[in-house]
Amino acid sequence: MENQNFYYDNKTVKFFAYATLFWGVIGMVVGLLLALQFIWPQLTFGIPYTTFGRIRPIHTNAVIFAFVGNGMFTGIYYSLQRLCKARMFSDILSKIHFWGWQLIIVAAALTFAFGFTTGKEYAELEWPIDILVAVIWIVFGWNMIGTIIKRRTRHIYVAIWFYLATFVTVAVLHVANSIEIPVTFFKSYIVYAGVQDALVQWWYGHNAVAFFLTTPFLGLMYYYLPKAANRPIYSYRLSIVHFWALIFLYIWAGPHHLIYSALPNWAQSLGVVFSVMLIAPSWGGMVNGLLTLRGAWDKVREDPVLKFMVVAVTAYGMSTFEGPMMSTKTVNAISHFTDWTVGHAHIGALGWNGFMTFAVLYWLIPRIFRTNLYSKKMANTHFWIGTLGIIFYAVPLYWGAITQFLMWKEFTAEGFLKYPNFLETVTQLRPMYAARAIGGGLYIVGVVMGVYNLILTIRQGDFLAEEAASAPALEPVSGKRAAGEGAHRWLERRPVQFTIFALLAILIGGIIEIVPLYLIKTNIPTIASVKPYTPLELQGRDIYVREGCYTCHSQEVRPFRSETERYGQYSKAGEYVYDHPFQWGSKRNGPDLSREGVVNGKQYKPNSWHYNHMLNPQKLNAQSIMPVYKWLIADDLDMSTTAKKIRVMQMLGVPYPAGFDKTANDVLLQQASLISADLKTQGIDCAPNKEIIAVIAYLQRLGVDIHSAGLSAASASENPVK
C-alpha cells in the first residue's frame, strides 16, 4: 500500500500542557491555603468565598479535573495520534474540547466560591455545569474514537484500551451521579436520597479515582514509560489480564467508603471483597511498568523522566495496596473519618498522578519544541524536593490519624470516654497539620521549579505545530476472526466492539449493587417517626450544603461504643430518606453532627450557643479550627425559593401535603419567630428572616426524629417500623 503523508497536531497538545501547569499551580496553592487554615483559622478571612468548606471543593476539583484532567488530555492527544498513525479526528472538536474544558474549570471555581454546590464530594458541580461536562466529555470521546477509527495501524495498543475504558466509564458515572431536578439555575436536588444517594455517590467517587485518576494514567504509563526507557513492554499477556480484571472489579468496590455505615451489610461486604481482589490487577500495572525497566535501570539513575515515573508507579503500587487494606472492616473501623484517608489520597495524587504528569511533560515538551530540557539538574532537584514533599505530607497525617483514632476510642477504667471533648483530639493534631503544610509547601516549590524549567525549555525551543508523518494506509481485511488469530488479538482490531465489551464489563458491577437498593424495600427499613424537614429546616440544610459543612463534619454515627457514647444512637438507613443529598461526609475535623439536636443527648446546645458559635467559634473554644460564619447572621434568608423547593421535594416523593408550597413560607416564619424569640431571652437580637435562624433550626432538628421514636438501637434495625 502506498505511504500516506499527514501531520500530527501538536498545538492542542501544547495548549493542554500549558493548562496543566497553570491549573496545577493554582489547585495546589489552594490546597496549601486549606492546610494553613487548620493552623490559623483566621486565614478564611471571615468572608464566605475563601472559607474552608467552599474552597476545599475548589482544591479537589482543580487538582483532579483541572491539573490531572488537562495532564491526561495532554498525554492522550500526543500518544493517541502516534499510536494510531493518524491526526486527531477533527481540529474543531479538539478546540471545543480544550476551550470547553477550561470553561468548565473557571465556572467550577467561581460557582464553588459563591456556594453553588450539590454537596456531593468530587461531584459538587451544579446542574448547568454538569450538562456542560457531559457535552464536552462526549466531544472528547467522539474525537478519540473518530481518530481510532481512521487509524493506520491494525491493532489498538494497550494504552488505547485504557483510554477507551476511561471514556465510557466516566461518561456513565458522571451521568448516573448527576441526575438532579433544578430548583433555580444554581440549585438542584439530586434524585437519590440518603443511603441510595450515598451508594451512588461513592460508586461514582470511588470510580472517579479508578477511571479518572488511574486508568488514563496507566494508559499514559504504557506509552511514555517504554518510550522514555526505550524498552519493550514486559508482558503483553499481563496487560490483557490486568486490564480486564481491573476494569471489571473496580466498579464494585465503591461501598468500601461506607463500611460500618447504614448501608445494608451485603453491599458493604461486596465493597470489602472486591477491594481486596483489586490488589493483583492493580499491581499488574505496576509490575508491567517496573519490569519493563529491566535492563534499563542505569538509565533511571540518569534520566529525571524515568525517576519521576518509577516513583509514580511505586506510589501507585503503595496506594493500591493500602486502599484494599483500608477497605477491610478491621482497618476501616479505625482509619475511616480520620486523616488517614487524606494521606492515602495524596500518595495517589501527589505521587502517582503528579509525578506521572510531570514525567510526561518533561518528556514531551522538549520534543514538540524540538530542543532539550533546559536543565536536567533542576528537574532532578524537583524530583527530590517533590519526593520529600510527599513524605512530609503523608507521614504526619498517618501519625495524626493514629493519634486521632486512639483518642476517639479511649475509655477510662470507669467506662467514660477519656477525651469526651472532641476538640481535644483536634488540638492534639495541630503540630501534625503544620508538618503536613510544610510537606505540601515543599511539593509546590518543586512544582514551581518544574514550571520554570519548562518555561525556559519552551523559550529556547522552536515549536513544531504540525509534525509531518507518514504511514501506509490500512488494507481492509475481514472483520471475522482469522485462522490462528487469538480472540483478544481480534478484539484489538475491532475498537467499537472493544469499547462495548469494556462498557459491559463496567456495567455489571454497578447494576448488581445499585439496582437492588431501589427495588427491594427491606434494604431501607422505614422509621415511622422520621418526618420531612420543615421549610425552615430545609432552607437551613441547603445553607449547610452551600457552606460545605460536610468537609469537616460527618453525619453518620457508626455502631461502635466509642461513637454511641460520644454522639448517641448509631445511624439507621431509615433516618435519611428525605436527605437530598445525603451529608454523611468522609472525615471528621469537627464532631459528628447527626445527633446535635437531641435535647437529652450528649451534644445538645441551646440556640444561643449556636448563634455565638457561628459568629465566632474561637470565642467559645479558643482552640477551635472551625471558620467564622458571620455572614449567616448578617444575610437575609432567600425565601423566594421555598415554594419551588417544596414542589421539587414533592416530585422526589417527599410527603408534604398537597398545596403545602403555598403556605410553606408562613410555616417557615412561624418557626423562625420562635427561635428569634428564644434568642431574645438570651439577650440576642436577631430577626427571624436571617440565614442563621434557618441553620439553627436545621441543627436542632438533627437526630430528633429517631430519638423521639424511643427505639432502642437494636430494635430499630431489626424490626423495621412500617
Binding site: T153, P232, I233, S235, V273, E414, P559, R561, V599, S608
Partner: protein, 195 residues
C-alpha cells in the same frame, strides 16, 4: 506480521526474552512473557478470600454483622458502664477544699465547661458563675445536681454519663471558688440573689 513458521522468533537483546512479532506501536514493542507466578497466586488468594468472606458473612452468616458486633461490644462492657440513675448525692455535702481536688476540678472545668461559661466562669451562653446569683439554687448540692442531671431544655447537658461522681463533686467544688472573683466582661446576673 503474525508469528508463524516462516517468521523466526525475535528476541530482546538485553534480556533474551521473546518479542511478539507484529506488536509494534509507534516503535513500542511487547514481550511474550508469562504472567509472574507470584502475581497469579496473589490474585487467586484474594479471590479465595472473597469467596470465603461472602460465605461466612452473607451466606451462612457465621460471623456477626455490624449490629450484632455492636451488641456484643456493649454486652462486654455492661458491667463497666456507669449506672447514671444510681448516682445519688448527699444533700448536706460540703465543697471539697483540698488543692489537688480543686486542681482536678479546674482541669475538668477547662476541658468541658468553658465553651459555655467562659474561661473564668464569667458566663456567655451559660450563666455567670462568679456573681452572687443563681438560677437553680445557691447550695452546693444544687450546683452538683445541675451538673449531674443538667437542664437540657436550657442547653445544660447532663454530665453524669461523661463524668464520674467524684469528678462531678470536684468540678462543682471548683465552681464554688469562682464566686466573687469579678473577672472582666461578666454576663449580667440571672436568677435569684444568694444570701
Amino acid at each position: 506480521m503474525e508469528i508463524n513458521d516462516k517468521n523466526p522468533v525475535e528476541k530482546d537483546e538485553l534480556t533474551g526474552d521473546k518479542l511478539l512479532s507484529g506488536h509494534d506501536y509507534d516503535n513500542i514493542r511487547e514481550l511474550d512473557n508469562k504472567l509472574p507466578k507470584w502475581w497469579v497466586w496473589l490474585f487467586i488468594i484474594t479471590i479465595v478470600y472473597a469467596v470465603v468472606y461472602l460465605l461466612v458473612f452473607d451466606v451462612f452468616r457465621i460471623a456477626p454483622h455490624q449490629e450484632a458486633e455492636y451488641a456484643n461490644e456493649m454486652a462486654a462492657v455492661a458491667s463497666l458502664a456507669p449506672a447514671p440513675q444510681a448516682m445519688v448525692f448527699d444533700t448536706l455535702m460540703v465543697p471539697l477544699t483540698d488543692q489537688p481536688a480543686l486542681d482536678a476540678g479546674k482541669a475538668i472545668f477547662d476541658k468541658n465547661c468553658v465553651v459555655c461559661h467562659k474561661t473564668q466562669g464569667q458566663g456567655l451562653v451559660g450563666p455567670n458563675l462568679t456573681d452572687n446569683y443563681s438560677i437553680h439554687g445557691c447550695r452546693f448540692i444544687d450546683a452538683v445536681n445541675v451538673i449531674a442531671t443538667g437542664v437540657p431544655e436550657k442547653g445544660m447537658i447532663s454530665w453524669k454519663t461523661q463524668l464520674t461522681k467524684e469528678q462531678i463533686i470536684q468540678v462543682a467544688s471548683y465552681t464554688m471558688t469562682l464566686r466573687g472573683t469579678n473577672p472582666p466582661d461578666p454576663k449580667a446576673p440571672q436568677g435569684d440573689p444568694c444570701k
